[in-house]
């Protein structure tokens, strides 16, 4: 499998480490009323789609960047690769 890194170009998947669902970017606010329920969902509940899936990959043997990879779980086709930092900032994160 080849992951087309937005900065470095096509790289072998062996250079990367897989973390999991990209929803991990959206960490709940611990001060919310229902923070307990939110953190339970954040920590344990995952969708298991047969098809397009957004997931976090770490380029450990490369530039050490975190990526949000959109992959089809049925065909392994990768349709989009973004720098996770840019995704987080676009969702309002300051760092």
């Amino acid at each position: 499998m080849i992951i087309n890194h937005p900065l470095l170009g096509p790289r072998d998947a062996a250079e990367f480490v897989y973390l999991g669902d990209a929803s991990l970017i959206d960490r709940p606010d611990w001060q919310d009323e229902d923070a307990m329920d939110q953190f339970h969902a954040y920590g344990y509940l995952r969708d298991n789609p047969a098809g397009e899936h957004k997931e976090l990959w770490y380029h450990e043997q490369g530039d050490r960047s975190w990526l949000v990879v959109t992959r089809n779980t049925l065909t392994h086709e990768i349709t989009n690769v973004e720098i996770a930092r840019d995704v987080a900032r676009a969702r309002g994160r300051d760092k």
Binding site: L8, G9, R11, E15, Q61, G62, D63, R64
Partner: protein, 206 residues
Amino acid sequence: MSRLSRPTLLIQKGSVFVAEYTLIAEPPLAGYDETFGDMRLVAPADFALVSIALPLGREDKALKAIKTGYGVDLPEVGESILSKDGKVRLLRMAQDQAFVMFTHSKPDAAQVVSKKIKDSAYVTDQTDVWTALHLSGPSSRRALERICPIDLDTEAFAEGHVARTVMEHLGVVILRDAADSFVLLSASSSAGSFLHAVETSIHNVT
């Protein structure tokens, strides 16, 4: 890794005086220089490597200081550039990280870089951590293409390009410093295995 040590002065610890040792690291592949057919494999002497991390929120200031200190802009990720005086190579490894590669015999490379960029970025001495090999000669690309997953065609990986990847399960930074010439960096703790991997790949084409 062998180390030279010598007591330099006595310092007081509690009520006793003890010798303070200055440890000087010796590169694990020091002195290696072999020729294989039309290729030459050398462990560069007095090789110094320092990493620069751009501070969050102060990136522009750091980039400006690098430009002032070295006379060139820090290149894009995956590229490297020689300083204006041609003595130092700046390698952009990641969005917020660069390596400074130069020849320096004293163990104070980090301070040298820090001073050059006026403390505008986080600096770490990587000299001890990495070991370097320099492979040159007309067949060097053929030797490397057997272990390097990066496309080494000059169209895809031109002079000055740099990439961090894996060769024979070892993390390696590869830099093309001339048409038929490559610098390879790998962890000094596995320097022997790294040299063996490169030598084996060279033997496969000679």
